[in-house]
């Protein structure tokens, strides 16, 4: 008898850009390939068009399931305005502190120009979502509940309490990753409750596992690590002709405190002291975008740094294809799928040591995010020494392709069994 999962997940590409949606999508697709039955509960504010599957019914009516193009996965939308960590709306530099606090509360804009319904505030919306999920769960058959990150935890707890089924929560990021030491107490409380209520916890790295144990007071034996994977499309990447002869260093991600954009710029400044012919591309939006633009100007490197804002689809591919080096200077990165994506695009990577990927990946350069000199030192080395760039690219890509979602899904299956035996 196969374990049936009620998965409380997040939106799939191309509607989202963050790691959470990508991870949910990758994991669920792999579970489907392994024949693991999943009912995927999705907060949705508007009708859905699904990548790889036929279009959903048009209009605003809510039908109970959407077809997914997957054999073992049913998609069940729940009307809700909850969204994970969106690119966010840039705001004036002076207000970035305020904006940061709002980052997780960002709202969804309909692609067709329609505005989605706003939840009055995030906490009420989380509760409202939990009630909706409870209702939906009544008509579902499942053996285990799998909730992804804090906004779905109350719903997971509610369903588990009602049904007596084991709750597995997966932690893709914690409040400490997103906000440093200035945690939102309410969010922290929800995270903590979810982790304590869960039968088993899946952390996306040992880095995150340690935070869960030390900051949330969870017994170590309850927390298992399952690394993320990467969807390899099998294409051989071609390089995109650059508009300039210069070397290019790429930052791609949300421009938020968590991602360390200012360290990237400080390092860029140092690199330019040693090398002239380098350009730096910062791709992404976020509450530190304007501040970053100002910082680049203040450092006197405004003419060398290009801000692309938020990129989608082919533009993301192009950004990678132009790059000689991808840098992820995150202050705190639970896993870090983006470096794997960069390697999939044949771009060597430099990652901060405070990331999940750094603990398990060998063929990448690693640096402390605050160590500007060392970050610049390594950037210069990659740009100056072709053998280094080549080895990081070839060996890194080989290693990246070993991160298979099927392996993650199989591990998740084992954890389900363990959780079911404990209830």
């Amino acid at each position: 008898m196969k374990t049936r999962t009620l998965m409380l997940g997040w939106e799939f590409p191309p509607f989202i850009s963050g790691g959470l949606g990508t991870a949910c999508y990758g994991l669920t697709k792999a579970m489907d390939r392994l024949g693991m039955p999943v009912t995927f509960v999705l907060p949705r504010a508007m009708p859905i068009r699904f990548a790889g599957g036929p279009d959903s019914p048009s209009g605003t009516e809510v039908s109970e399931y959407y077809r997914t193009g997957m054999r073992h996965v049913r998609l069940r939308p729940i009307p809700s305005t909850l969204v994970p960590y969106t690119p966010g709306k840039p705001c004036k530099a002076a207000h970035w502190h305020h904006a940061k606090a709002q980052a997780a509360v960002a709202t969804l804009e309909a692609t067709d120009g329609q505005r989605a319904i706003y939840g009055p505030d995030i906490c009420a919306e989380v509760q409202r979502y939990a009630i909706q999920v409870m209702k939906a769960a009544e008509s579902e058959e499942f053996d285990v509940i799998h909730a992804h990150d804090w906004m779905t935890f109350p719903a997971g707890i509610a369903v588990a309490t009602r049904t007596g089924k084991p709750l597995v929560v997966q932690v893709h990021s914690t409040e400490f990753d997103r906000s440093g030491e200035h945690v939102n107490q309410h969010v922290y409380d929800i995270e903590r409750q979810g982790m304590h209520a869960a039968t088993m916890i899946i952390a996306v790295s040992n880095y995150t596992r340690n935070i869960i144990i030390n900051r949330y007071g969870i017994a170590p034996e309850k927390v298992e690590v399952v690394y993320n994977g990467i969807d390899f499309n099998g294409r051989t990447e071609t390089s995109f002709p650059r508009a300039w002869p210069d070397k290019t260093v790429l930052f791609l991600g949300r421009v938020t405190m968590q991602k360390g954009p200012e360290y990237f710029l400080f390092a860029a400044k140092r690199v330019l002291e040693k090398m002239e012919n380098v350009k730096f591309v910062m791709a992404g939006d976020g509450d530190m975008l304007y501040r970053s633009i100002e910082l680049a100007a203040n450092l006197g490197i405004g003419h060398k740094v290009f801000f692309t804002r938020f990129l989608r689809g082919d533009d993301v591919d192009r950004a990678y294809q132009m790059a000689d080096l991808y840098v992820m200077p995150s202050v705190s990165e639970p896993f870090g799928i983006a470096p794997l994506e960069a390697l999939q695009h044949n771009v060597p990577v430099l990652v901060s040591k405070t990331s999940g990927i750094a603990e398990t990946f060998h063929n990448a350069l690693k640096v402390d995010f605050w160590d500007i000199n060392e970050m610049a030192n390594k950037m210069v080395a990659v740009l100056r020494y072709p053998p280094l760039q080549e080895m990081l690219r070839i060996e890194g890509r080989k290693e990246a392709l070993r991160f298979r979602w099927e392996d993650s899904a199989a591990r998740v299956g084992e954890i389900y069994h363990k959780a079911m035996s404990m209830v």
Binding site: H362, N377, V380, A381, Y385, P387, M391
Partner: protein, 399 residues
Amino acid sequence: MASVCFYFQVHQPYRLRHYTIFDSGNDYFDTHKNAEICRKVAKKCYLPANRLFLDLIRQHGGRFKISYSLTGVLLEQLREYAPKVLESFQELADTGCVEFLCETYHHSLSYLYSPREFVEQVEAHRQLMYDLFGQTPRVFRNTELIYNNSIAQAVERIGGFDAILAEGADHILGYRSPNYVYRPPNCSKLKLLLKNYRLSDDIAFRFSNRGWNEWPLGADKFAQWVNTVNGNGYVVNLFIDYETFGEHQWEDTGIFEFLQHLPAEVLKHPDNDFKTPSEVAAAYEAVDVVDVPYYISWADIERDLSAWLGNAMQHSAIRELYRIESMVKASGDPDILDQWRKLQTSDHLYYMCTKWFADGDVHKYFNPYDSPYDSYINYMNILDHLGTRCSALTPAGVA
């Protein structure tokens, strides 16, 4: 007869300090770490092992003999950080039962890239052995037992050598045994002594392995294995890293205990004895020519050059290293020359090895860097700085 021929390799590199592209100092070496490691290894290995061998030599009244190859870069560090070790090696030299071999002063791969530099380092090392131990070496061993036909010929051309050592790799020996003396092709006088890697590795690698079906290995059992060579070989060449004693195999594995009893156990058989490499070369005729057209070494299971020259970074680093040779020598600056030579030590290239890097294993233990990439970046930054210093001193056009 079965002669046991011990040769111990003793070496420590000058490890580099962290050197970024923004550094501009002329000091490239991590003095603090080098001193610390030198003193640590002296305490755990060199001093107790030297003491033990000195006792054994005295105890057996000249019947127990050993040989060493001490690199120039090790001896310089001992002089500075652990002079007692140097004194104890001199004491060993005074017994007359210890032979000192010759190698490249800087434990370098110079033969592969600069034959001229190779000769200079061999001469420098031979002189050092004479200065410190009053012996002029008659036997040569190249860095990491890197060897092929042409190296043997080059060593014979340098002159003054009776024998050269190499790995007794299966693929060069075929059905033949390493327990005889051989000759390199096109050499008239030089003999070739080959490492018995099975028995050597029993001590160096397997000794403390509890999963090994011969564990625990006692001196009596090992002597039995030596005895079986009687009648189908002359010599058992045990070529071992000296740091095996106390550093790779910790004292609590019983390794010193094993050594303590080994000479007596071996000598129990009336046909056995101990010989130094020179004595082996003098005592036994070569039975055959061994042709080694390709490079071999004693490293890893491949027994080739891939630990030092197995990837693009390593090739790029060594090319750059020897590319600046003429500039370094034209600069006329003894400090620059000395630093350039210390950068030739093969360990620097070994740290850049990516073989099995993904598994993170044996190489890691000896590696001061977090990754081979870090090692390459650091090394190239230093070479770059050294090259810049040379350029400033060299008239244009020399390089």
